[in-house]
Each structure stands twice: as structure tokens, then as C-alpha cells.
Symmetry: C3
Subunit: 236 residues, 3 copies
Amino acid sequence: MNIRAIPPTIFAIALSAVSVTAADAWANPNLEELAGELAALKAEVTTLRQEAQAATDYVAIANLQASYGYYVDKMRWDEAADLFTKTATLEIAGRGVFAGQDRIRTYLHALGELTYGTLFNHMQLQPVIHIGNDGVTASARWRTLMQVGHLGEEARWGEGTYENEYVKEDGIWKINKLHSYITFYVEYDKGWNKGAVPLPKHLDNLEPDAEATVKYGAFPDVFVPPYHYKNPVTGQ
Amino acid sequence: MNIRAIPPTIFAIALSAVSVTAADAWANPNLEELAGELAALKAEVTTLRQEAQAATDYVAIANLQASYGYYVDKMRWDEAADLFTKTATLEIAGRGVFAGQDRIRTYLHALGELTYGTLFNHMQLQPVIHIGNDGVTASARWRTLMQVGHLGEEARWGEGTYENEYVKEDGIWKINKLHSYITFYVEYDKGWNKGAVPLPKHLDNLEPDAEATVKYGAFPDVFVPPYHYKNPVTGQ
Amino acid sequence: MNIRAIPPTIFAIALSAVSVTAADAWANPNLEELAGELAALKAEVTTLRQEAQAATDYVAIANLQASYGYYVDKMRWDEAADLFTKTATLEIAGRGVFAGQDRIRTYLHALGELTYGTLFNHMQLQPVIHIGNDGVTASARWRTLMQVGHLGEEARWGEGTYENEYVKEDGIWKINKLHSYITFYVEYDKGWNKGAVPLPKHLDNLEPDAEATVKYGAFPDVFVPPYHYKNPVTGQ
């Protein structure tokens, strides 16, 4: 093709077309649109990532606390203690505060061993779990229904509310604070209209690191364990 | 550079190259591919959004109903009533239907106050939760294990099945219908082989807005509360 | 416009500009960037898909096992049997192994019918659910709290641990293995300090396909049902 053979106007139109096309490619509506759509999608995926992560965290924490319960049932104390952070605290009934995983382990072992005739069920029920906005802290309310006792000795029903805290360390959720408030503790033979077993106090064989942070009585006293969350509808 | 100095063929090749390049940019396989991939990804993210939203809704509803239970345990009636929509209905045992949040609040307060010696535990257990395709309605079956009574008076075990409905208003899940069918209600001292407490009827101090929608008897009668869902495997 | 009228240098600059623009579009940093961002986003969405899918699967399995419990409560045996795969196994207490959905159905029907005065509650509680990396298998530990008996005859509390397996067939989760270890089984009138009902043995009216895979005693014996999972924190 000889450029001189191109009629000037046609050449100009062709050049113009090329220019427009190239300009379109530079500021191409498709490319710009794509970039815009991609940015919007990235933002949406970021939101989704948080939602999916929160759902994953919910499952992890539900599994964690349920696992704690299954270990406690069978007095697998080392397994249970391993679920806590090194700096965790544990406070159950009126037995005071045990600070740090080592002390929590000591406390748990002080509860005894699973031997013939022992029943020590601590069902972990009714979770209200909230993942923190930081994605590495969480709080949960749970309750435990307890069936405890020993053949030829006592048999008791008990119930308690947990307000627990969790942290995610190196991608793994751990219990950072376990606080169990006893609601009732009664003799199996009596039920809850003929008196109750008092709130358990200090263990005979182990003093706590600090006294109980909240003073309250179990049934027949009534007490509302504090909620870590606001009313889910009113936010108050 | 003088255009006249460009050998025509070279110029033509250059122009052709420019044209091809620009045309490629316009109908560039990469750009088209990208656009196609982006469209596919957008579709996938839409599906993911629904899945993640459903998981988030599941958690919200589980937390909501569990919160309801913790409020009921402690007779925090205003907190509990606030969890319902303005037009919700509540029907428990044989006490009839209470329609609207105000009447639900009145009903709940009519159940009494938490005083020394009262036990009123209503554990919220075993959810089967389905989020509607519209994303703003949901249904759930739950059960409650009840430990109720008063020191020096009665002590009772009870159990019931809920078939509840929820709606999402302004991004917040609320209870729109609560229907509790009592399975059994027995004196602690007797258990469930020596008779049972009859299905609770109208409150002494409050008439319902409508009679019970379903007539049934609690243990020793047997009754299968209707399921809001089909068999999860057969779909029937 | 007459090309001959374009001053040569300006034309050359224009052509050069067009060439650069077109070349940029071909190897345009924006396009390349977009492609890179899209690839990264696709990878992230793939991860999200797995997370969202796992959350969806968690909900499906929780609903499935809870549904099983509601059917068992009311002795809806066909509904319950339909939740199993064709090749599933079922093993409860000391009654041996039943292999295949048909035999599971036969076993369930052999447990009797829901008639006036029957209580057969099997609450499904405290799940620890793990979805396999393949996305089509899962394992879960659950526990059941049982309230069983018959008016004028026996009344019993019982508790057991399940270690179950699930598979996803054609997009639907089903129970592939149900293994229930009884923890305790006691007369309501006695509680758990005056002896216990022995671990249920073979049904009177139905021999199993194989003997129990695990020999153990219920309370007052103590036994730790094997865990399908490692310690969630230590991984051991």
C-alpha cells in the first residue's frame, strides 16, 4: 500500500478512527468500567471476608467451648487446661480467681479424678456468641446443666451461667476468661423446693489467687449474671 | 521527522500495526477474558453473599432466641418483650394467643416477678433454623427444658417445643411469632411415671386475645408439634 | 482535513502518541494491574467459598442431627431412617451394629410406637462439628439428654455421647454413621447415687448385624468415648 494512494480524507478518517480507538483503550469505557466493577467487587469481598470469618469464628468458638465441656465431664484436666491462654483467668462459683494457665491447671486437677462411680457431666448449652470487630477477641454467654455425684454418696443437679472471653492467637481461638455463675445446686433427692446446696466456696485443698470478683448467692437467692451484650433488638 | 521521509510501505506497516494494536485493545482477548472472568466472579460472589448472609443470619437468630431464654430465666420481661416485632404473636401451652408486642409484654409481666426462692429456668436447645429465600424471614424449631418452682412450694420439670418465626426489620432480626407446645410438665417429686401436671391453661389474671390455635394435650398425652420444615433428606 | 496540510512534525508526534497509547493498551499497566488484582481476588474468593461452604455445611449438619432428635422423640421412625445413607451404620449402647438404611429402619421400628403415656425425649446437644477438607464428609460429637419412660411403669434419665459421621450426597448431608455411647441411665426415683440401669443390651426382638465395636460400661463405670478430633488448641 502506498500512502500516497490513500485519498487524504479517507486517510484522515482512518487516522481519526485509530486515534479514537487508541484513546478509548487508554480511557476505554470497558476498561474503566472493569476497573470500577473490580473495585466494587473487592469492597464487597472484603465485607464478605469479614462475614465469612465471623461465621468461621462462631463455629470455632462453639466447638472450643463444647470441647471444654466434654473434657470436664471426664476430668481430662490437662486437655481442658490446654484450651486456655497462658494469661487466662478462671472463676467458678465462690472459689475465687485462678490466674494463668498453670494455676488453672492446678485448680482443675484439685477437683479430683474420674474413678468408678463418679458422674461429673457439665453440658455446655445455649450460646450467645459475639465476635469482636477486631476479629481476634470474642465473648460468649453459655449455660451448663450439671449432673454430678458419686455412687453411694451425693447426687446433685446444678446449673450455671458462663460469661467467657476468647482470644485468637496465631489463628487459634483459646479461652481467655472463664467465669461461671452458679444458678442452683440441689440434692437429687430434694429438688429445688426443699432448700439447696450453698454456692461452692474455696476448695479445701487450694486457695485462689484472688477472691471472687462478684459476690452473689445461688438459689434460693436470685441473681442475674451480667450480660456481655446489649439487648440484641434495642441495643440497650 | 518528516513524514515524507518515511518510506510508504514502512509507514503503512506502522499504521497497520497501530490499527491492529488499537483494535486488539478494543476487542482485546485479555480485556474480554478479564471481563468474562470478572462477570463469572461477580456471579460467584453473589452466591457467596447469600451463603455468608445465611450463615450470619443463622448466628443472629441463634443468639436472639438464646437471649430470649436468658431474659425469661430471670423474668426480665421488658427485655424479653423488646425482642418481638410490634405485630408479633405469642402462644404458650394452653394460654391462648397474645397479639402485638404490647400484649406480649402484658402477658410476660403477668407471669410474676423474680423473688427470693424462685427458679424459672427455660433452656433454649436444639435449634433447627431455616432462613427464607427472601433473606428477611426465618423459621426455627427449638426446645426448652424447664426447671421451675419456688422454695417451699412446687418444683417441676417441664419440656416444650417451639415453632417460631422471625423477621428482619432494618437489618435486625426479631421474633415475629413464638409458639411453645408443652411436651411434659411433671412434679419433681413424682417424675413422669406417676402422672403429670396438666397443660397450663389461661392465666388466672389475664385473658388471651384468642384461644389456642392448636388443641393438644401434654404428657401423658402424646402429640407431635407440626414441623415448619420438610424432611431434610427426602424433602417430604 | 487534508493530510498534506498537517505539518509533518505534528503528524509524527500524533502518530507517535497513537502508537504509544496503543502499545500501552496492549501492555497497559492498568490492564495488567487489573488482571493481577482479578487473579488475587479470584484466589480470595476461592478461600471464601470454602469458608462460606463450611459454615453452610455446619448449619446443615446441625439442622440434620437436631431433626433426627425431634423425629426420635416422637418415634417417627421412617422419617428418622430416611436421614441415613443407604450404607450407613447405627450402633447404640450395647445393642450391636445395624448396617444399611433398611436394617436401621428395622431397628428403629423395633423400639416401639408412641402411645398414650410414653415419653421418649432425646435432646441433641453440645455439637463439636468438623467438616472434612473434601467438603463431602464430616464428623461430629454430640450428646443426648434422655427423658424416657411410660406412665405407670418406669421413668428414667439417661445421657449419652454420639460420635457420628456424615456424607454429602448430591448436595444433601446425610448421617453415614451414628454411634451412641451411653454415659448413664438411671431410674428417676433413684438418681445416680443409688445404682443405675445397666447398659442396654441386644433388643429382645432383634439381633444386630454385628456385635458392639466398643466394649464399655455405663455409669457407675466410667468410660471416655473416643474423640474424632484432636485438642482444638494443641492439636494433639
